[in-house]
Symmetry: C2
Subunit: 154 residues, 2 copies
Amino acid sequence: MSRAQQFVQYFLSHRHVTVELIQKIEPERYDYKPAPTSMSAKELATHMLFTFYQFAQTAKEGNPRVLTEKIEENETDLRKLAEVYTEKTKNLLESLTDEDFERTLDLTKIFGAPFSVAQFLQTAMDHEIHHKGQLFVYVREMGHETLPFFIKRG
Amino acid sequence: MSRAQQFVQYFLSHRHVTVELIQKIEPERYDYKPAPTSMSAKELATHMLFTFYQFAQTAKEGNPRVLTEKIEENETDLRKLAEVYTEKTKNLLESLTDEDFERTLDLTKIFGAPFSVAQFLQTAMDHEIHHKGQLFVYVREMGHETLPFFIKRG
Protein backbone atom coordinates (compact mmCIF):
# COMPACT_ATOMS: atom_id res chain seq x y z
CA MET A 1 0.00 0.00 0.00
CA SER A 2 1.41 3.43 -0.92
CA ARG A 3 1.87 6.08 1.77
CA ALA A 4 -0.95 8.07 0.18
CA GLN A 5 -3.30 5.07 0.36
CA GLN A 6 -2.34 4.45 4.00
CA PHE A 7 -2.85 8.09 4.86
CA VAL A 8 -6.20 8.32 3.05
CA GLN A 9 -7.37 5.27 5.03
CA TYR A 10 -6.31 6.98 8.27
CA PHE A 11 -7.94 10.27 7.18
CA LEU A 12 -11.24 8.57 6.32
CA SER A 13 -11.27 6.52 9.55
CA HIS A 14 -11.78 9.85 11.34
CA ARG A 15 -13.45 11.94 8.60
CA HIS A 16 -16.31 9.46 8.18
CA VAL A 17 -17.11 10.05 11.86
CA THR A 18 -16.90 13.84 11.39
CA VAL A 19 -19.37 13.59 8.49
CA GLU A 20 -21.72 11.40 10.57
CA LEU A 21 -21.73 14.02 13.34
CA ILE A 22 -22.24 16.91 10.89
CA GLN A 23 -25.26 15.07 9.46
CA LYS A 24 -26.86 15.25 12.91
CA ILE A 25 -26.74 19.07 13.00
CA GLU A 26 -30.11 20.43 11.89
CA PRO A 27 -29.99 23.84 10.11
CA GLU A 28 -31.85 25.48 13.01
CA ARG A 29 -28.91 24.52 15.29
CA TYR A 30 -26.17 25.91 13.00
CA ASP A 31 -25.69 28.88 15.35
CA TYR A 32 -25.56 26.72 18.49
CA LYS A 33 -22.65 27.55 20.82
CA PRO A 34 -21.92 25.60 24.02
CA ALA A 35 -20.41 28.74 25.62
CA PRO A 36 -20.45 32.42 24.59
CA THR A 37 -16.80 32.32 23.46
CA SER A 38 -17.13 29.02 21.53
CA MET A 39 -17.30 28.66 17.76
CA SER A 40 -20.86 28.02 16.56
CA ALA A 41 -21.64 24.53 15.25
CA LYS A 42 -21.49 25.89 11.71
CA GLU A 43 -18.18 27.69 12.27
CA LEU A 44 -16.68 24.57 13.84
CA ALA A 45 -17.79 22.27 11.01
CA THR A 46 -16.62 24.56 8.18
CA HIS A 47 -13.34 25.27 10.03
CA MET A 48 -12.63 21.52 10.06
CA LEU A 49 -13.58 20.94 6.41
CA PHE A 50 -11.74 23.98 5.04
CA THR A 51 -8.61 23.55 7.16
CA PHE A 52 -7.92 19.96 6.11
CA TYR A 53 -8.50 20.89 2.47
CA GLN A 54 -6.03 23.78 2.76
CA PHE A 55 -3.49 21.57 4.53
CA ALA A 56 -3.80 19.02 1.71
CA GLN A 57 -3.36 21.79 -0.88
CA THR A 58 -0.24 23.00 0.94
CA ALA A 59 1.15 19.46 1.12
CA LYS A 60 0.58 19.08 -2.62
CA GLU A 61 1.81 22.50 -3.79
CA GLY A 62 4.60 22.84 -1.23
CA ASN A 63 3.56 26.43 -0.62
CA PRO A 64 1.85 27.62 2.57
CA ARG A 65 0.25 30.56 0.70
CA VAL A 66 -3.20 28.91 0.74
CA LEU A 67 -3.14 28.68 4.55
CA THR A 68 -3.55 32.45 4.79
CA GLU A 69 -6.40 32.60 2.27
CA LYS A 70 -10.06 32.65 3.24
CA ILE A 71 -12.28 30.15 1.44
CA GLU A 72 -15.37 31.85 -0.02
CA GLU A 73 -18.28 29.41 -0.17
CA ASN A 74 -21.82 30.08 -1.35
CA GLU A 75 -23.04 26.65 -0.27
CA THR A 76 -24.56 26.88 3.21
CA ASP A 77 -25.76 23.27 3.68
CA LEU A 78 -23.24 21.66 6.05
CA ARG A 79 -24.06 18.16 4.82
CA LYS A 80 -23.27 19.11 1.23
CA LEU A 81 -20.11 20.95 2.27
CA ALA A 82 -18.98 17.89 4.24
CA GLU A 83 -19.47 15.67 1.19
CA VAL A 84 -17.82 18.03 -1.30
CA TYR A 85 -14.78 18.95 0.83
CA THR A 86 -14.17 15.36 1.92
CA GLU A 87 -14.05 14.31 -1.74
CA LYS A 88 -11.79 17.22 -2.77
CA THR A 89 -9.44 16.55 0.15
CA LYS A 90 -9.35 12.80 -0.51
CA ASN A 91 -8.50 13.38 -4.19
CA LEU A 92 -5.63 15.71 -3.29
CA LEU A 93 -4.22 13.29 -0.71
CA GLU A 94 -4.46 10.38 -3.16
CA SER A 95 -2.37 12.32 -5.66
CA LEU A 96 0.65 12.51 -3.32
CA THR A 97 3.63 10.28 -4.13
CA ASP A 98 5.74 8.45 -1.53
CA GLU A 99 8.46 11.04 -2.19
CA ASP A 100 6.04 13.89 -1.55
CA PHE A 101 5.70 12.71 2.06
CA GLU A 102 9.42 13.29 2.62
CA ARG A 103 9.50 16.81 1.15
CA THR A 104 10.23 19.66 3.53
CA LEU A 105 7.71 22.50 3.78
CA ASP A 106 9.09 25.86 4.79
CA LEU A 107 6.53 26.79 7.42
CA THR A 108 8.91 28.84 9.56
CA LYS A 109 6.86 32.03 9.13
CA ILE A 110 3.57 30.38 10.12
CA PHE A 111 4.57 27.59 12.54
CA GLY A 112 8.07 28.66 13.55
CA ALA A 113 9.76 25.60 12.03
CA PRO A 114 10.09 23.58 8.82
CA PHE A 115 7.98 20.39 8.61
CA SER A 116 8.10 17.32 6.43
CA VAL A 117 4.86 16.79 4.50
CA ALA A 118 4.29 13.66 6.65
CA GLN A 119 4.57 15.66 9.91
CA PHE A 120 2.43 18.43 8.46
CA LEU A 121 -0.33 15.99 7.50
CA GLN A 122 -0.18 14.41 10.97
CA THR A 123 -0.83 17.89 12.37
CA ALA A 124 -3.84 18.14 10.02
CA MET A 125 -5.10 14.83 11.48
CA ASP A 126 -4.52 16.04 15.06
CA HIS A 127 -6.49 19.19 14.21
CA GLU A 128 -9.37 17.14 12.77
CA ILE A 129 -9.47 14.80 15.78
CA HIS A 130 -9.28 17.70 18.25
CA HIS A 131 -12.26 19.52 16.74
CA LYS A 132 -14.18 16.29 16.13
CA GLY A 133 -13.92 15.65 19.88
CA GLN A 134 -15.56 19.04 20.43
CA LEU A 135 -18.23 18.25 17.83
CA PHE A 136 -19.17 15.14 19.85
CA VAL A 137 -19.97 17.39 22.85
CA TYR A 138 -21.95 19.83 20.66
CA VAL A 139 -24.06 17.05 19.13
CA ARG A 140 -24.64 15.40 22.51
CA GLU A 141 -25.81 18.75 23.89
CA MET A 142 -28.23 18.98 20.95
CA GLY A 143 -29.90 15.87 22.37
CA HIS A 144 -28.27 13.07 20.37
CA GLU A 145 -27.48 10.16 22.67
CA THR A 146 -26.45 7.43 20.25
CA LEU A 147 -23.13 8.51 18.81
CA PRO A 148 -20.49 6.60 16.81
CA PHE A 149 -17.11 5.46 18.16
CA PHE A 150 -14.46 8.15 17.58
CA ILE A 151 -12.68 6.09 14.86
CA LYS A 152 -14.39 4.11 12.12
CA ARG A 153 -12.04 1.44 10.79
CA GLY A 154 -12.43 -0.86 7.79
CA MET B 1 16.72 11.31 18.03
CA SER B 2 15.40 7.83 18.89
CA ARG B 3 11.83 6.90 18.02
CA ALA B 4 11.00 6.90 21.74
CA GLN B 5 12.37 10.45 22.14
CA GLN B 6 10.40 11.61 19.09
CA PHE B 7 7.24 9.97 20.36
CA VAL B 8 7.63 11.36 23.90
CA GLN B 9 8.01 14.84 22.40
CA TYR B 10 4.78 14.31 20.41
CA PHE B 11 3.00 12.89 23.49
CA LEU B 12 4.03 15.83 25.68
CA SER B 13 3.08 18.41 23.00
CA HIS B 14 -0.52 17.33 23.63
CA ARG B 15 -0.32 16.05 27.23
CA HIS B 16 1.00 19.38 28.55
CA VAL B 17 -2.18 20.97 27.20
CA THR B 18 -4.32 18.23 28.80
CA VAL B 19 -2.64 18.91 32.15
CA GLU B 20 -3.16 22.67 31.77
CA LEU B 21 -6.89 22.09 31.17
CA ILE B 22 -7.18 19.64 34.10
CA GLN B 23 -5.60 22.26 36.37
CA LYS B 24 -8.53 24.56 35.56
CA ILE B 25 -11.12 22.08 36.90
CA GLU B 26 -11.98 23.04 40.49
CA PRO B 27 -12.95 20.09 42.78
CA GLU B 28 -16.52 21.42 43.04
CA ARG B 29 -16.85 20.95 39.25
CA TYR B 30 -15.55 17.35 39.17
CA ASP B 31 -19.10 16.08 38.62
CA TYR B 32 -19.88 18.58 35.84
CA LYS B 33 -21.45 17.01 32.73
CA PRO B 34 -22.26 19.01 29.58
CA ALA B 35 -25.15 16.63 28.79
CA PRO B 36 -26.88 13.93 30.86
CA THR B 37 -25.21 11.11 28.88
CA SER B 38 -21.72 12.68 28.95
CA MET B 39 -18.83 11.54 31.14
CA SER B 40 -18.34 13.86 34.12
CA ALA B 41 -15.23 16.09 34.10
CA LYS B 42 -13.59 13.74 36.59
CA GLU B 43 -14.46 10.62 34.58
CA LEU B 44 -13.16 12.21 31.39
CA ALA B 45 -9.86 13.31 32.94
CA THR B 46 -9.14 9.99 34.65
CA HIS B 47 -10.19 8.06 31.52
CA MET B 48 -7.55 9.97 29.52
CA LEU B 49 -4.79 9.56 32.10
CA PHE B 50 -5.43 5.87 32.78
CA THR B 51 -5.96 4.89 29.14
CA PHE B 52 -2.68 6.30 27.86
CA TYR B 53 -0.83 4.67 30.76
CA GLN B 54 -2.42 1.31 29.97
CA PHE B 55 -1.65 1.70 26.25
CA ALA B 56 1.99 2.45 27.13
CA GLN B 57 2.09 -0.63 29.40
CA THR B 58 0.66 -2.77 26.60
CA ALA B 59 3.21 -1.38 24.12
CA LYS B 60 6.00 -2.21 26.56
CA GLU B 61 4.81 -5.66 27.68
CA GLY B 62 3.39 -6.75 24.34
CA ASN B 63 0.34 -8.10 26.12
CA PRO B 64 -3.11 -6.47 25.94
CA ARG B 65 -4.08 -8.01 29.30
CA VAL B 66 -3.78 -4.65 31.12
CA LEU B 67 -6.33 -3.05 28.76
CA THR B 68 -9.09 -5.10 30.37
CA GLU B 69 -8.03 -4.26 33.93
CA LYS B 70 -9.56 -1.47 35.99
CA ILE B 71 -7.10 0.90 37.66
CA GLU B 72 -7.87 1.31 41.38
CA GLU B 73 -6.77 4.73 42.59
CA ASN B 74 -7.15 6.20 46.07
CA GLU B 75 -5.91 9.62 44.96
CA THR B 76 -8.87 11.85 44.10
CA ASP B 77 -7.08 15.13 43.29
CA LEU B 78 -7.13 15.40 39.49
CA ARG B 79 -4.08 17.70 39.42
CA LYS B 80 -2.00 15.16 41.34
CA LEU B 81 -3.27 12.30 39.18
CA ALA B 82 -2.38 14.25 36.03
CA GLU B 83 1.14 14.81 37.31
CA VAL B 84 1.71 11.23 38.49
CA TYR B 85 0.26 9.46 35.45
CA THR B 86 2.00 11.75 32.97
CA GLU B 87 5.33 10.93 34.63
CA LYS B 88 4.63 7.16 34.75
CA THR B 89 3.51 7.15 31.09
CA LYS B 90 6.49 9.21 29.96
CA ASN B 91 8.91 6.85 31.74
CA LEU B 92 7.36 3.82 30.08
CA LEU B 93 7.44 5.42 26.61
CA GLU B 94 11.08 6.47 27.08
CA SER B 95 12.03 2.86 27.82
CA LEU B 96 10.90 1.64 24.36
CA THR B 97 13.60 0.77 21.85
CA ASP B 98 13.44 1.54 18.12
CA GLU B 99 12.78 -2.18 17.57
CA ASP B 100 9.88 -2.12 20.04
CA PHE B 101 8.02 0.26 17.71
CA GLU B 102 8.07 -2.38 14.95
CA ARG B 103 6.78 -5.25 17.12
CA THR B 104 3.34 -6.60 16.31
CA LEU B 105 0.73 -6.64 19.07
CA ASP B 106 -1.93 -9.30 18.82
CA LEU B 107 -5.00 -7.18 19.45
CA THR B 108 -7.35 -9.22 17.31
CA LYS B 109 -9.62 -10.06 20.27
CA ILE B 110 -9.96 -6.43 21.40
CA PHE B 111 -9.63 -4.38 18.20
CA GLY B 112 -10.28 -6.98 15.50
CA ALA B 113 -6.78 -6.76 14.00
CA PRO B 114 -3.08 -6.95 14.86
CA PHE B 115 -1.27 -3.60 15.25
CA SER B 116 2.37 -2.57 15.24
CA VAL B 117 3.38 -0.82 18.46
CA ALA B 118 3.83 2.37 16.39
CA GLN B 119 0.24 2.19 15.08
CA PHE B 120 -1.07 1.30 18.52
CA LEU B 121 0.65 4.30 20.11
CA GLN B 122 -0.74 6.55 17.35
CA THR B 123 -4.19 5.34 18.36
CA ALA B 124 -3.35 6.26 21.97
CA MET B 125 -2.46 9.77 20.72
CA ASP B 126 -5.69 10.00 18.69
CA HIS B 127 -7.62 8.99 21.82
CA GLU B 128 -5.86 11.65 23.93
CA ILE B 129 -6.47 14.38 21.32
CA HIS B 130 -10.12 13.37 20.88
CA HIS B 131 -10.91 13.62 24.58
CA LYS B 132 -8.74 16.71 25.06
CA GLY B 133 -10.93 18.41 22.43
CA GLN B 134 -13.93 17.55 24.60
CA LEU B 135 -12.15 18.81 27.71
CA PHE B 136 -11.72 22.21 25.99
CA VAL B 137 -15.53 22.47 25.70
CA TYR B 138 -16.04 21.39 29.33
CA VAL B 139 -13.55 23.96 30.63
CA ARG B 140 -14.99 26.72 28.45
CA GLU B 141 -18.46 25.90 29.78
CA MET B 142 -17.03 26.23 33.32
CA GLY B 143 -16.35 29.87 32.46
CA HIS B 144 -12.71 29.79 31.37
CA GLU B 145 -12.24 32.01 28.34
CA THR B 146 -8.46 32.13 27.92
CA LEU B 147 -7.43 28.67 26.84
CA PRO B 148 -4.16 27.33 25.40
CA PHE B 149 -3.61 26.33 21.75
CA PHE B 150 -4.40 22.62 21.25
CA ILE B 151 -0.71 21.69 20.75
CA LYS B 152 2.19 23.03 22.80
CA ARG B 153 5.43 22.63 20.86
CA GLY B 154 9.01 23.19 21.97
